[in-house]
C-alpha cells in the first residue's frame, strides 16, 4: 500500500494552468444541483399547452373542464398576462401566450399549475382550443415577398454589403448554391426553473439561462412589474450553446406563481424542449467567386437567406455575422453580399454556437475548394495566398487591428501528420455496430477548412460586464451575473484571483440580478468581458490596498505579480499577507472598445476582435451505402493565450463533435413547419463511435491587444470550420458535390 501525500504537490494555480473546476467533483458525483433539481415547500407544477398547428387563428379557448379537475390551481391564457403580452431578445415581437394567431407549431397557448405534473398534463389535455387552421408559410425564399404572417412583416432584416468595385471580374469564376438544415443545441439538461412569489409582491425566479438581466427585463415588462421586483437567480445549467438566450418558460412560471401565491416549477421533457427553444437558422446560400490566374481572390458575390422562423429572436445579429464573415478568413478587394433574415411559420431560430458564421463558412469553404481545383492549386496553398493578416481590411471596411495569425493556423495544421490507414475492425469502419462495411468498401478522403469568428457583441451594442471583489479579513468572494453554462468561468474566476491577489481560496457568490449585468454567456465573450471585470475588480482591491498602505506607512508600493514591492526595493509583502485583517468591497464595470452600426452599404467598424481556426478532417466513406466514419479531425486555433489547457481542449473537442454533427447527422426535420423528430431517437447526436480522434496541431498564442491576459474567446471557432472540413473530406472521397448539410446516407449512395 502506498500513501499519497497530496499536500506535497502544489495545486496548479493562476492563469495558464489546468486548474480544476470548483464544481467538477459535484458534477461527476451527481451531487450538483441542476435547475431540474429545484424544489420548494408547497410547490406546484406548471405545464404548457402548445399549438399543434404551425399557422392558425385561435377562435376560442375553453378552460372550464381543465379548471374543474381536482388538484388544478390555475389555468391561464393570453388574457391573464399582467403586462405587455410580448417579449423578444432583440425586438419584442413574440407573445408570451398566443392571443389571436398561431405562428409556429409548438407556440404556447395556455399554462396550468397543479399539485402534480401528471395532473397538470391532464389539465392541459382538457383545455379546448378551437382553431381555424391556415396554410403555413414554410419556404424561406418565398417568405421575402409572401403575404406578411406578422404585423412587423416577413423580412426581419435585409443587409447589403458593398465593398470595393462591384463590377470587377476575375479570370476564373465559380458559382454554387448551398443549403444548411436546422440544427439544435440539444443541451443535456432540458429547460427548467422555479418561480417563488415574495412577500413584497415581487417574484424570485430561479432559472437555467444564459443572460439573467435580459430575462429580468423581459419578465418585468410582461408582468408589468418594476424591474427591481423581479429577482432572477441562476439555477444549475445543463448546457446551453445559445438555446437558453431567449425567454422560454420564464414569464409562464412567474404568472402561475403570482396567481396561485405558491412556488411553481416546470421541467420541459425532451420533446417539449425541442419546441421550447430557438434553433440554428436553416440557410440558403448562393455564391459567385472570382479569382485571378495568379490564385488571388478578385471578388465575391453572395446572397444569403436565413429562415428565422415565426419570431425574430437574434435573427438580425445572426444575419450580420453570416454576411460580414461570408468571405471567410480571407482578404478580397471587392465584394457584394446581400442577406435576408426572414419570418416563416417554421419554429423560431436564434442563437447557436457559431452564430451565423457556421452557415456561410460551410458554403464559402466549399467555394474555396472549387476555385482551388479550377486553378489547379492545392486547397491549402490557395487559402494561404488569400489569408487575412493584421492590418488587412474585411468587407465591412473594418481594419483588423488585433492579431490575425491565419497563416500560422493554416501552416501548422497542414504540417500535422496524417493518421494511419483504415482499421481492420468492422466496428471502427463506416456503419459501426451495424457491421455493414469491410475495408474493401472504404474510400479515404481528406478535407480542409478555415474560419473567422467575431468575438463579443457587435454593431454598436453597449457591451459590458460588472464584477465585485469582496475582501473580508483576507478572504475573497467574487460576485458577477456571469452565467456558468459548463464553459468553466467559475474555474477562471479562481485563476484570475490567484494570478492577481495570490489567494488560492475564492468563494464565488451566486449569479443573480443583485449585481449589474454580465451580458450573455455567448459570442465567445465571457472570459474577455466578465473575466476582464473580475481582473479589474481584483486590481481595484490592490489599488485601494496600496493607497491604504501608503497612508499608513508612507510607502507607495507597486504590485509585481502577486507581491507588493516598494519602489526602492526596501520592502516587499505578498498581496495575500497585506490583505489579512483588512476589508474591501470593489465593484467594477468592464467594457470593450466601442463598435458602430453598419451603414446602408454594410460598412463600419462593427466588430471588436476576431478569432481564427482551421480544421482538417479525415474520413472513411462507404460510397455504396453512403455511410461515413470520421477517422480524425485535426485543428489549429488562434487563441491569443491559453488560460486553462484542459478547459481549452474541452471546448475544442465539444465544438468539433457539434460541427461533425451538423455535417453528417444533426437536423430537425420539418413537415409543414412541424418537427418530425423531437427526440433523441431520431435527432441524431454523434455518439462515442461517431466522434473521431481529435488532434490539436497547434494553439497559436499571439496575445490579443486590449484583451484581458491577451486571451481570445475559444468556444465558437471549433464548431465553425469543422463542418466544412468533414464535408470536404467526403467530397474528396466520393467526388460528389454535396451542397447540403447534414449529408444523409442517400445523398452519397444515390448521389
Amino acid at each position: 500500500m502506498s500513501v499519497v501525500d497530496d499536500t506535497v504537490e502544489a495545486i496548479p494555480s493562476g492563469i495558464g494552468v489546468s486548474a480544476v473546476r470548483p464544481d467538477g467533483k459535484e458534477k461527476v458525483k451527481g451531487d450538483f444541483i441542476f435547475s431540474s433539481d429545484l424544489s420548494s415547500e408547497g410547490m406546484l407544477w406548471g405545464q404548457t399547452l402548445r399549438s399543434p398547428h404551425s399557422s392558425a387563428r385561435i377562435l376560442n379557448i375553453d378552460i372550464s373542464d381543465a379548471l374543474s379537475i381536482s388538484g388544478v390551481h390555475a389555468v391561464l391564457t393570453a388574457d391573464d398576462v399582467p403586462g405587455e403580452n410580448i417579449f423578444g431578445l432583440e425586438r419584442a415581437d413574440q407573445p408570451v401566450l398566443a392571443n389571436d394567431f398561431i405562428r409556429y407549431a409548438g407556440e404556447p397557448v395556455a399554462i396550468v399549475a397543479a399539485d402534480h405534473p401528471e395532473i397538470a398534463r391532464k389539465a392541459t389535455d382538457a383545455i379546448k382550443v378551437e382553431y381555424e387552421i391556415l396554410s403555413p408559410l414554410v419556404d424561406s425564399s418565398a417568405a421575402i415577398t409572401a403575404k406578411a404572417i406578422h404585423p412587423e412583416g416577413n423580412v426581419i432584416r435585409y443587409l447589403n454589403i458593398v465593398h470595393g468595385d462591384t463590377e470587377a471580374v476575375g479570370d476564373v469564376i465559380v458559382e454554387g448554391e448551398y443549403e444548411v438544415g436546422m440544427q439544435d443545441q440539444a443541451f443535456m439538461g432540458t429547460e427548467s426553473g422555479m418561480a417563488i412569489p415574495s412577500p413584497d409582491g415581487g417574484i424570485d425566479l430561479q432559472i437555467s439561462t444564459q443572460w439573467l438581466h435580459s430575462d429580468q427585463e423581459q419578465v418585468a415588462t410582461a408582468l408589468n412589474m418594476p424591474i427591481e421586483m423581479v429577482r432572477v437567480t441562476l439555477a444549475g445549467v445543463g448546457g446551453a450553446f445559445g438555446g437558453r438566450e431567449d425567454v422560454s418558460m420564464h414569464v409562464h412560471l412567474c404568472m402561475l406563481a403570482l396567481y396561485t401565491g405558491k412556488p411553481v416549477k416546470m421541467i420541459y421533457d425532451r420533446n417539449e424542449s425541442f419546441l421550447g427553444h430557438v434553433h440554428r437558422h436553416p440557410a440558403r446560400i448562393w455564391y459567385r467567386h472570382h479569382a485571378s490566374f495568379g490564385g488571388r481572390l478578385v471578388k465575391v458575390e453572395a446572397k444569403v437567406i436565413l429562415d428565422g422562423g415565426a419570431y425574430a429572436s437574434t435573427t438580425s445579429a445572426v444575419l450580420a455575422n453570416a454576411c460580414c464573415f461570408s468571405i471567410g478568413p480571407y482578404s478580397v478587394p471587392n465584394a457584394s453580399v446581400e442577406g435576408w433574415g426572414v419570418r416563416t411559420n417554421n419554429p423560431p431560430c436564434g442563437a447557436m454556437r457559431g452564430f451565423g458564421n457556421v452557415q456561410t463558412c460551410f458554403a464559402v469553404e466549399a467555394q474555396m475548394d472549387k476555385i482551388a481545383k479550377e486553378l489547379n492549386l492545392d486547397p491549402v496553398e490557395f487559402r494561404l495566398n488569400n489569408a487575412l493578416k493584421s492590418g488587412d481590411t474585411i468587407i465591412t471596411g473594418q481594419e483588423i487591428t488585433g492579431t490575425a495569425p491565419v497563416r500560422e493556423v493554416l501552416m501548422s495544421l497542414a504540417n500535422h501528420p496524417l493518421p494511419g490507414p483504415s482499421s481492420n475492425n468492422l466496428l471502427e469502419l463506416p456503419g459501426g455496430t451495424g457491421r455493414t462495411t469491410d475495408g474493401s468498401h472504404v474510400k479515404r478522403g481528406v478535407g480542409f477548412a478555415a474560419s473567422i469568428k467575431n468575438l463579443m457583441f457587435s454593431e454598436g451594442f453597449d457591451d459590458f460586464s460588472e464584477a465585485r471583489c469582496i475582501v473580508d479579513d483576507g478572504f475573497i468572494a467574487i460576485q458577477t451575473a456571469c452565467v456558468e453554462v459548463g464553459q468553466g468561468f467559475v474555474t477562471l474566476v479562481q485563476q484570475i484571483v490567484q494570478e492577481i491577489l495570490g489567494i488560492e481560496k475564492v468563494e464565488i457568490l451566486p449569479a443573480d440580478t443583485s449585481i449589474g449585468s454580465a451580458g450573455s454567456t455567448s459570442a465567445s465573450r465571457q472570459s474577455w468581458m466578465s473575466g476582464g471585470a473580475v481582473m479589474k475588480a481584483c486590481e481595484a482591491v490592490v489599488n485601494s490596498l496600496i493607497s491604504d498602505l501608503s497612508n499608513e506607512q508612507g510607502v507607495s508600493f507597486e504590485r509585481i505579480g502577486t507581491v507588493l514591492v516598494a519602489p526602492d526595493g526596501s520592502a516587499s509583502i505578498p498581496v495575500s499577507d497585506a490583505l489579512r485583517g483588512r476589508n474591501y468591497d470593489e465593484t467594477v464595470v468592464h467594457r470593450h472598445a466601442p463598435t458602430v452600426p453598419l451603414d446602408e452599404v454594410g460598412q463600419g467598424d462593427a466588430h471588436v476582435s476576431f478569432a481564427f481556426a482551421a480544421h482538417r478532417a479525415v474520413v472513411d466513406v462507404d460510397e455504396e451505402l453512403g455511410l461515413v466514419r470520421v477517422v480524425e479531425i485535426a485543428t489549429s486555433q488562434d487563441v491569443g493565450r491559453v488560460l486553462n489547457p484542459v478547459q481549452a481542449r474541452g471546448q475544442i473537442e465539444g465544438g468539433i463533435a457539434q460541427g461533425l454533427g451538423l455535417a453528417i447527422l444533426e437536423e430537425i426535420i420539418l413537415q409543414d413547419g412541424k418537427i418530425q423528430n423531437a427526440n433523441f431517437t431520431d435527432y441524431l447526436l454523434p455518439t462515442a463511435m461517431d466522434t473521431p480522434t481529435i488532434e490539436i496541431a497547434a494553439l497559436i498564442e499571439e496575445p490579443e491587444p486590449n484583451a484581458p491576459f491577451g486571451a481570445k474567446g475559444i468556444g465558437e471557432p471549433p464548431v465553425i470550420s469543422s463542418t466544412p472540413a468533414v464535408v470536404a473530406a467526403i467530397r474528396d472521397a466520393t467526388g460528389l458535390d454535396l451542397n447540403r448539410v447534414p449529408i444523409r446516407p442517400e445523398d452519397i449512395a444515390l448521389g
Partner: protein
Amino acid sequence: MEFHIASSTEEVCGLLAEDPTREILAGGTDFMVEVNFRHKDPSAVIAIDRVPELKQWRHDGDAVSIGSCVTYREIERGPLSTIVPALAQSARTVGSPQIRNVATIGGNLGTASPAGDMIPVLLALDAKVIIRSIDGSREVSIDELITGVKETSLADNEFIEKIRVPILRGPQEFLKVGPRNAMVISIASLAMVTDLERSAIAIALGSVTAAPSKAREAEAYIQDFLDWNVMTVESSALPNFRRLVGEASSPINDHRSSATYRKHAVGVLGQRALLRIFESRDDG
C-alpha cells in the same frame, strides 16, 4: 394504477386470466417510452422480468430455448453469442449498454416494430415462439406472431414464454444500416443464415417491410449458383441476387429515410452478407 410483480409463469397466466387488460412489462425500454410519451396509459401492469424461468436459456435438442426475459446483453456477450452469432450481432446494434442490460428478446418480438433488430434473425432461423396462457401453450412462427406494424396475434390473455431457436452449423450474418455508427434505429437490415448440413440459405429483411419477411425468391435463385463444398458463389449471379433482395422489400418513405434508399441498401446488404459467407468465383 395496479402493479403486479410476477414470480412464476403460472402466476402470470393466472393474472392474465383474471384480467386480460393487464399489460406485460419486461425490460420496459419500449413500454416506458410509450408511457412517457402518453401513447400508452396502462391501468394494470404485470412485471415479468423477475420470473426465473423467463430469464434463462437452455439447450433443447437441436435448438436453444431462450426465455422471453433474456436480455440483449446476455445474448450479445454470453455463451449464446457463439451458438446464435447473428442474434448476438443484432443485439449489439441496439441502443446503449444501459438499454441492452434490461431490454429483452421477448420485448423485441412483443413490440413488433418493423425495425425490431432481432426479428429478421429469428425469422431467418425459423425460430418458434412459445406462447403461454392459462389454457396451455401454443407454438407459432415469427411471421405468424407478428402480423403487421406493431401488431401481433397474441390474445389478451397470452404472453411470450420463450423462443425456440434452431442451432445451425454454418456462418450467419446480420447487417444493419443507420445514419449513426451506434445507437440507431435501423433504416434497413438483413439477416442471412446458412445450414451446412442441409445446404440451405435463408435471408430475412428488417425495416423494409411492414411485417417480417424473407427474401424467398433471392434465396431460391442463388441456390443454383452456390457451391456448398467449397463455399463459393458464381459472381455473375450477384447483380440479379442483389436486385431480388431489394425487390423483396416494400419500404416506406419517412423522416428516417426514403423508400428508394432503403430498397437500394437492403440489396447491398444482401450481396455483402453473401460475399462474407461465400467466396466469389468467376464463371467457368
